[in-house]
């Protein structure tokens, strides 16, 4: 019986702890936003971080996008051909990518590649007292270290998602038109007719921006908050990937429900 009360106490403590942490993280986000002035005055700081977050994620995004598109092409054709609608393959591939797979999968990949790297880097700077040293030299580490990485992530995400979707469409084209033999004309024309700029593409971009903010926020916060030990940093890195992934999926549901209500 005491095991039960212990369990409930534990659960309660963990929930309050989580809420506490969320509050702390929110204040941290506000602090980051307030101290972002330097990022705009010295944009080179952001550019530098965009190299590490964005450019170095290019390969994995492009290759994954290609493969996802190709699989969509294969699977989509298999299903559509049963209803004699194989000419709608372009529609299926494009809408799946632009609305969902582009932002979500690119977001997940970004979280695991760039997000974890950001957390590890900031955590390591904390362990080796580089952040404290910066503070002692009267340079605000939030402005100089945290904010540029945050904004780099926010800017890179939509670009990566767009690249993912574009590569995916190309992959679907390769498989559908080139390999299987779906009519090229109807592939593109039906796609163009079905994919609406405002409804589909713009919404996809909005999703990827939201995901970018979420992942970047989580990554910089976990790094900054990591216990200054090797174990602490490694656990923070794992937490970034897990929390970002779950957050992306949850946000995706909320945004999809909101955007694609079908009115």
């Amino acid at each position: 019986m005491s095991g039960m009360t212990d369990f409930l106490e534990n659960l309660g403590a963990r929930v309050t702890g989580a809420v506490h942490r969320l509050g702390f993280a929110s204040r941290f986000l506000l602090l980051t936003l307030r101290n972002s002035g330097l990022c705009f005055r010295r944009f080179s700081l952001v550019v530098r971080e965009m190299y590490f977050a964005g450019v170095l994620s290019l390969i994995i995004i492009l290759v994954s996008g290609l493969f996802v598109g190709m699989v969509l092409g294969l699977q989509g054709y298999d299903t559509l051909v049963r209803y004699g609608s194989s000419s709608a393959l372009g529609v299926l591939v494009a809408l799946s990518l632009v609305r969902e797979l582009g932002p979500v999968v690119a977001g997940l990949l970004f979280a695991s590649r760039a997000g974890s790297a950001i957390t590890a880097e900031i955590g390591l700077m904390k362990v080796t007292e580089q952040l404290a040293a910066m503070e002692m030299m009267a340079v605000d580490p939030i402005s100089r270290v945290i904010a540029p990485r945050f904004w780099a992530g926010v800017i890179s995400m939509p670009l990566l998602a767009a690249m993912f979707s574009a590569m995916g469409v190309f992959g679907g084209y390769l498989v559908g038109v080139r390999m299987i033999g779906v009519d090229e004309g109807s592939f593109w024309s039906q796609m163009q007719a079905a994919v609406d700029f405002q409804e589909d593409i713009l919404n996809g971009v909005i999703k990827s921006v939201v995901f970018g903010v979420a992942v970047s926020w989580i990554a910089v916060f976990e790094g900054y908050d990591a216990p200054p030990t090797a174990e602490g940093v490694s656990r923070a890195t794992t937490r970034t990937v897990v929390t970002s992934s779950l957050t992306i999926l949850a946000l995706d549901f909320m945004l999809t429900a909101f955007m694609f209500r079908g009115d």
């Binding site: 190299y51 609406d196 593409i201 971009v205």
Partner: protein, 158 residues
């Protein structure tokens, strides 16, 4: 340590590719190209039943897209659906043009089809289409079919 210039170059390439991808999606994959900044004029049409017609659904005539559904409203006096159609200024229609709500394919999206009449006077912005045909609602069709079948049956005395 990456030199500043090389770093800037790569980030520039990255952003360029990203924007290129966005442009590709918008133009090739989506319909931004036909997303006209062309001028349109508004024409109203009332329907008893619009079925599954949505905003931004195409307005076609002879199968060609000539405009979009701008707005869908409800008239509380006549209990009819009021649909506002924005038609490309390039295409003029006679005043006795009729509007039908059709379905693309068997189970596809619904759109508004315009059939031109013979009037020499043209529609102006704000005019209302007099002849409209509502959407075919599947349930009504089925019940009508069954009703007809049943009527036939009783006629034969069964």
């Amino acid at each position: 340590m990456m030199k500043r210039k090389a770093l800037d170059l790569w980030v520039g390439v990255f952003v360029a590719i990203g924007l290129g991808a966005l442009l590709f999606l918008a133009l090739k994959v989506g319909d931004l190209a036909s997303y006209s900044t062309t001028e349109t004029y508004l024409v109203m049409a009332n329907f008893d039943n619009i079925g599954g017609l949505k905003k931004r659904a195409p307005v076609k005539s002879a199968g060609v897209v000539v405009g979009r559904v701008e707005n869908i409203g409800f008239d509380t006096e006549t209990y009819e659906a009021t649909v506002a159609l924005s038609i490309d200024k390039r295409y003029e229609f006679p005043r006795d043009t009729s509007a039908k709500i059709l379905t693309a394919g068997l189970l596809g999206e619904q759109y508004v089809g315009l059939a031109a009449g013979g009037d020499t006077a043209k529609l102006k912005s704000g005019d209302k289409l007099k002849i409209t045909q509502s959407a075919v609602v599947l349930e009504n069709l089925i019940s009508q079919f069954l009703f007809n079948k049943a009527a036939e049956g009783t006629k034969d005395g069964k």
